[in-house]
């Protein structure tokens, strides 16, 4: 434990590392917040194409969909009821449309071929529509005298759009993915600690590491202790970031804070192990390794939607495998599934993949480092 505490002390006193790993993401989050503050919900949301099968339709649903507005004059849905279910199914298979709705046995079915913002909006609308209609039917059957009160209450409520898209956050929820990507990026910044771990243990990386190498301390022990120290500090930083985003900037996450923290924990492990793995694979100076890890981390964060949101949708839609091996995407997706889908299984799948990747990274790092003699030091 002495090695762990000394390492922790070293990391805490390295102000450069602390800035990039802890302060910088908080600053970036603040800039996002300030920047997005100028964007209104209207500017973020476009009308969504919605297809309802002409042979399995429900007039009242179509009517409701056509009446929903983003603002007073901009409809939320562009409803198309001109095609049959078979035609729409074919279009879906051909990736010409993202989804369609049909009613069968009094059940509303929404078929999609992938996840995405438009699908989420449509699904949320349908969920809410179902809740309201179910409520009305239930009240009508059990307490018909209360029906008028219920309808009045519903009339006083916000529109569907606001219910679906606004929530308690004044900013559009779509922006949240930027904050999720920011958390993913902060976790990926743990890769710097990973590079530092290799730099201070691999003899050909620094004189200090060469010195440590000739001591009777087992390399595995050093790797674990250095890793745990980095994990402690970086995880602390990431928790601070999550709390800062959630409570100070009021960014909407899932209500389950514990799961968000868990995501951050696994993400931190992923970031550090990813950095150490790349650092043992790349030959050259620690500076070169840091540069390469930095570029890769930013690129992976970019693919997860940090800079351009559409990139994430593009990847998810066209190269889904990339989303499964990109730690940043896995992190973004985990948070995304908690918030948008409330899907625990999807969430845990992403997290489990990330955990497996982390194990692969750390084992790979150890295998490359163990009992090594070097070409030059």
């Amino acid at each position: 434990m002495r090695i762990y505490f000394t390492r922790l002390k070293c990391l805490l006193r390295d102000k450069g590392n602390l800035f990039w790993a802890i302060i910088f993401p908080i600053c970036l989050g603040t800039f996002f917040y300030l920047g997005f503050g100028r964007l209104t919900m209207d500017s973020m949301i476009d009308t969504v194409d919605a297809y309802v099968a002409s042979d399995y339709t429900l007039d009242i649903l179509v009517k409701e969909m056509k009446e929903v507005k983003i603002n007073n004059d901009k409809p939320l849905f562009n409803v198309d009821v001109s095609k049959s279910k078979d035609e729409l199914e074919q279009l879906l298979l051909d990736n010409k449309i993202k989804g369609y709705i049909y009613i069968e046995n009094d059940e509303i079915v929404y078929r999609v071929n992938s996840s995405g913002l438009e699908q989420t909006i449509t699904k949320s609308f349908l969920d809410q529509y179902l809740q309201i209609t179910t409520l009305i039917i239930k009240v009508n059957t059990t307490n018909p005298d209360k029906l008028l009160d219920v309808l009045t209450d519903l009339g006083n409520q916000q529109s569907y759009v606001k219910e679906i898209l606004a929530g308690s956050n004044p900013k559009a929820n779509r922006l949240n993915i930027y904050f999720y990507a920011l958390i993913a990026m902060a976790c990926m910044y743990g890769s710097f600690w990973g590079v530092g771990l290799v730099r201070d243990i691999e003899a050909d990386n620094s004189p200090l590491a060469a010195r440590v190498n000739i001591t009777p301390t087992h390399k595995f022990k050093l790797i674990i202790m250095y890793f745990l120290a980095a994990l402690t500090l970086h995880f602390f930083g990431n928790v601070v970031l999550v709390l800062y985003l959630k409570y100070l900037l009021q960014v909407e996450f899932s209500n389950n804070l514990a799961l968000i923290i868990l995501t951050s924990f696994v993400g931190t492990i992923g970031g550090i192990t990813f950095g150490s793995f790349i650092a043992v694979l790349v030959t050259g100076s620690p500076e070169k390794k840091e540069g390469i890890v930095n570029v890769i981390s930013l690129f992976l964060s970019f693919l997860s939607g940090l800079m351009v949101l559409e990139v994430k949708y593009f990847i998810d839609h066209n190269i889904p495998i990339l989303g499964y091996i990109n730690p940043a995407s896995l992190l973004t997706d985990s948070l995304y599934s908690l918030y948008y889908y409330n899907s625990i299984s999807r969430y845990f799948t992403r997290l489990a993949i990330l955990a497996v990747l982390s194990i692969v990274f750390i084992i790979g790092t150890y295998i490359k480092m163990r009992g090594n003699r070097y070409d030059s030091v």
Partner: protein, 328 residues
């Protein structure tokens, strides 16, 4: 007679343990540079073993091979009679290493640095504290215990570097050019310290390109050049191997090329040349040539500012063997 492999040697009737044995080691770097070529030598217990050679001669590569840090394509290295590999933690536990470059944590104070490195060898906290205090005393860094390395001068930093390598009281201490870029005061302190460590029982391997240091402290010397041993032995033996017996340096008011011929005609003179205004006369073994030189100068009315005679140095040994100076 004990003949347990190379582990024991008998010197003057005493059994002396072989601490390090380097046998036919060859190392070529990826860029094609042949750093070591069939290098062999032995270090015995209680020695201050000097590895002397110019920069790039392969001293540090040799040390790194001994410590199992570097791969080498041929040869064998044993420490304490055992094959040295990166996994031999039992052997590593008995070695102290002071690298050429200062290798300490900038984020830790002097005391914390020594404690950290000592702790990689010594687990017992009380024992470690005593060892750390002793090491701090040893390198005279008591006034700088709470200083961070960045606040230390070059000399103090070198002393910290040494303290980190010796605090655990190792049986074998390897110092790789520990006095590079060190002021004379710190250098003397370091050299005295090394001799003290040796007196306390540690075997020392000391690399340097400063022949004076090696001459001053080493009991056995290996001279290296281009990755090979060019000569080895005690300093007396090394000096006895060469033909040079004396070097006389005469500082003249003006350089006069005609004098060279005069001095070359003196008995037993091997060579005569100018170094700026200094006329250098090198003589072979035997009686000193100083009286002959003085007489010649008197006969030819040669004025001089001063005259200085010296016995051969290790630089002369190196020069005679390789044809170049150690400092080249």
């Amino acid at each position: 007679m004990i003949t347990d492999k190379y582990f024991y040697h008998v010197v003057k009737g005493w059994v002396v343990e072989m601490i390090v044995k380097v046998e036919n080691v060859s190392k070529t770097y990826k860029n094609g540079v042949k750093a070591l070529q069939n290098l062999s030598f032995e270090v015995r217990e209680g020695e201050i073993f000097g590895l002397l050679g110019p920069n790039g001669s392969g001293k540090t590569t040799t040390i790194n091979c001994i410590l199992a840090l570097l791969k080498y394509e041929a040869g064998n290295i044993e420490i304490f009679g055992e094959q040295m590999t990166p996994e031999r933690y039992d052997i590593k536990a008995q070695i102290g290493y002071v690298p050429q470059q200062v290798a300490v944590f900038n984020e830790l104070t002097v005391e914390e640095n020594i404690d950290y490195f000592c702790g990689l060898y010594v687990k017992d906290k009380t024992k470690r504290k005593a060892l750390v205090d002793e090491a701090i005393d040893f390198v005279s860094l008591n006034d700088y215990r709470k200083f961070y390395p960045k606040k230390l001068s070059g000399g103090l930093l070198r002393r910290l570097n040494i303290a980190c390598g010796i605090a655990h009281k190792p049986r074998l201490i390897i110092l790789d050019e520990p006095t590079v870029a060190v002021d004379p005061q710190s250098r003397n302190k370091i050299l005295e310290g090394i001799m003290t460590l040796n007196k306390q029982g540690a075997t020392i391997i000391y690399t340097s390109h400063y022949m004076e240091e090696v001459e001053q402290i080493c009991s056995y010397i290996v001279i290296m050049d281009k990755g090979q041993v060019v000569s080895h032995g005690t300093k007396e033996k090394l000096k006895a191997m060469i033909t040079l017996g004396e070097t006389i340096e005469i500082t003249l008011p003006n350089r006069n090329e005609a004098y060279l011929e005069l001095f070359r005609k003196l008995p037993n003179v091997l060579d005569c040349f100018y170094k700026d205004r200094i006329l250098v006369v090198k003589s072979g073994k035997g009686q000193t040539n100083v009286p002959n030189v003085l007489q010649l100068m008197q006969e030819h009315n040669i004025n001089y500012e001063n005259i200085y005679s010296s016995l051969p140095t290790l630089n002369d040994v190196f020069l005679e063997i390789t044809g170049k100076e150690l400092r080249d």
